[in-house]
């Protein structure tokens, strides 16, 4: 018994920490120069699932859609206590907008079996759209609670959460199945467990390479995850027309690198005299009183 939980996770370029090399001379972003990281709020979603596993009991399955490299984030889930991890990967999925992404993830969740609770990060830092969670919920025909800033209580039937909204907050309750989107402040994600890192560091999709360390830990390992499951479009019975670029109603018409239309900047000298003159000017123009 216990809760059957699914966490959706995403590997994203670290857009918050752009270094000099990440920008090409023409001002566009060199994606390859950006480190790929675990989307921060997805880590909060995972943490919430792991906490519920400890308090209510149940299992945690982490799912990601992405290229082979995205296995890295699934391993991070294993390192923290996920029971099962699934990579959804197919060339057909390339160029997906949120609608096509949610279609694929919803199909994968259905294929993974019954569930009570789906946990998503509120949004991913590369697009900041916060759309995929609600779109998965709609496709699965279930309720959703977004912008969860705290899980207040949960048992095997219902979950009660605090939602932070513009006017203040709400305490809301829903029966399962339900999808929640978790905000950054909801918890402090745990670190990887050293023991689990040893267990899972070499797991791969399809096959489990029996290295010395894993052979040593084999009995433990075989009880849980043997390898990362990898599913393609056919495996989740996805309609190719609804995946990737062809399943995406939104198209990028154009991308502009950010052109700084320079204003006439008045350089103020960093000295008492320079700054006094600036303050005087602002007072004279009634900008400050």
């Amino acid at each position: 018994m216990g809760l059957k939980m699914v966490v959706t996770v995403k590997q994203v370029p670290d857009t918050h920490n752009l270094s000099g090399e990440a920008m090409k001379p023409d001002g566009t972003v060199n994606r390859n120069a950006l480190p790929a990281i675990f989307n921060p709020e997805d880590m909060n979603a995972l943490e919430e699932a792991l906490k519920l596993k400890e308090t209510v009991g149940g299992t945690v399955t982490a799912i990601t859609m992405g290229p082979s490299k995205a296995k890295d984030v699934l391993k991070e889930c294993l390192f923290r206590g996920a029971d099962d991890v699934i990579l959804i990967s197919d060339r057909l999925f390339a160029g997906a907008d949120t609608l096509a992404t949610s279609y694929v993830l919803a199909a994968a969740i259905k294929k993974a079996g019954e569930f009570d609770l789906i946990l998503c990060g509120r949004q991913a830092i590369d697009g900041d759209t916060a759309q995929v969670g609600p779109q998965i919920a709609e496709k699965l025909g279930i309720n959703q609670l977004t912008c969860v800033s705290r899980v207040m209580a949960a048992d095997e039937n219902k979950i009660t959460v605090k939602r932070t909204v513009e006017s203040g907050y709400e305490i809301v309750r829903s029966a399962y199945p339900v999808l929640i989107t978790v905000m950054g402040g909801a918890n402090i994600p745990r670190s990887a467990s050293a023991k689990k890192v040893m267990m899972y560091k070499n797991v791969d999709s399809r096959v489990c390479e029996a290295s010395y360390d894993e052979a040593y830990l084999a009995p433990d390992l075989c009880d849980t995850v043997e390898y990362i499951k990898e599913w393609n479009a056919a495996a989740i019975e996805a309609d190719p027309d609804r995946c990737g670029l062809s399943g995406s109603p939104t198209k990028v018409k154009k991308i502009d690198s950010v052109v700084l239309t320079a204003r006439e900047v008045k350089q103020i000298e960093n000295s008492d005299a320079g700054i006094s003159a600036l303050v005087r000017e602002l007072v004279d123009e009634h900008i400050i009183g």
Partner: protein, 337 residues
């Protein structure tokens, strides 16, 4: 009177008034509708909120479809999205705008998923234009412009092959025009055709909290970036804001780091502001930040890096350490008054 192809706005209530963002979007919708020679419509729901709706007419909304039901008094995702989807299916607008609020961002994706139409989040600009896919030319479609990729690029998004084109826009991004007190809106009452079993969220408590800070109304904002995020830097930013009678804002990394509260974050994913004076302290000036503050009447940028992008949009640039510059500003201001 055209009954389809109009521009529709999801009308949100903020307690006992229409949310500012909804009025801003009605103004923007009016601008788009005029270009397309169509009308602005609203879709609203709640319990006994009819009396608030006539105000929409003053901002250019011709008609509002309002669903009144006791069960809609509190927000619940499934029925709210269902009512919007039903209204769109019935009246066929070509464009639908939602505030990028917690409510708008909750239901707009659900509606888009249901109607299998395009949705673009957090647009900073909307235009009418054309787009070509292979040999097919689409005219008079919505161009949805938004910073993407952490705000390092500006993307123009279109969704010409699905109807309607939907977009969310943050509070404060679009400008509210002066109301025309003679403007009139037709209120069309809709029946709530949603079964009880769709009301899946129980609201146990809804608490209104007075905002600790109202950046949108502030005339002077002093914002801290990572260059001012050490305890001493934050104290100086606060001191300068106090002396000038302004409020403290922050850049996204500073809010992400938890140094200042999220409600103080200025930018595309925070609050868009139009103060008289904006002082950027140790803020590099990524586009996502600039999108939220470049409409300030005067901008002072203080940064140690003379190449920081913030200087390109500032009216006054001071190259220096905020730990030196701010005390000088406070001293100069005190000497003045």
């Amino acid at each position: 009177m055209a009954v389809d192809k109009n521009v529709m706005v999801f009308i949100e209530f903020d307690g006992d008034r229409i949310a500012d963002v909804s009025l801003e979007l009605v103004c923007e919708a009016k601008r788009l509708a005029d270009q397309l020679h169509v009308e602005v419509e609203g879709v609203a729901m709640g319990f006994e909120k009819q009396h608030l709706l006539p105000l929409l007419g003053q901002y250019g909304c011709s008609r509002v479809y309002y669903t009144n039901d006791k069960r809609l008094a509190c927000f619940s995702s499934v029925p709210y999205a269902e009512v919007v989807a039903q209204t769109l299916t019935r009246y066929h607008p070509q464009i639908v705008l939602f505030g990028a609020t917690t409510m708008g961002r909750d239901i707009a994706p659900r509606v888009a998923s249901k109607l299998k139409c395009g949705l673009t989040a957090d647009c900073t600009q909307l235009k009418i234009g054309s787009h070509k896919i292979k040999d097919k030319e689409f005219d008079n479609i919505l161009l949805q412009i938004r910073p993407a990729f952490g705000g390092n690029i500006i993307a123009t998004i279109v969704s010409p092959e699905s109807m309607p084109s939907m977009a969310t826009v943050r509070d404060g991004v679009m400008k509210m025009v002066d109301p025309d007190t003679l403007g009139d809106v037709a209120i069309v009452e809709e029946k709530c055709d949603v079964p009880d079993l769709c009301f899946l969220t129980e609201v146990l408590e809804a608490v209104r909290e007075e905002k600790a800070v109202d950046l949108k109304q502030a005339r002077i904002i002093v914002s801290a970036g990572m260059g001012a995020s050490d305890p001493e830097g934050i104290a100086l930013v606060k001191a300068l804001a106090d002396v000038l009678g302004g409020v403290v804002g922050s850049s996204r990394p500073v809010a992400d780091a938890g140094v200042l509260d999220r409600c103080r974050q200025v930018g595309q994913t925070g609050v868009t502001v139009r103060p008289n004076l904006y002082i950027a302290c140790g803020i590099s000036g990524q586009i996502q930040h600039r999108a939220g503050m470049e409409a300030a009447k005067r901008i002072i940028a203080i940064n140690q890096d003379p190449e920081a992008p913030i200087f390109s949009i500032a009216h006054y640039g001071i190259v220096g350490d905020i730990h030196e510059v701010i005390p000088r500003m406070i001293k100069a201001y005190k000497a003045k008054s």
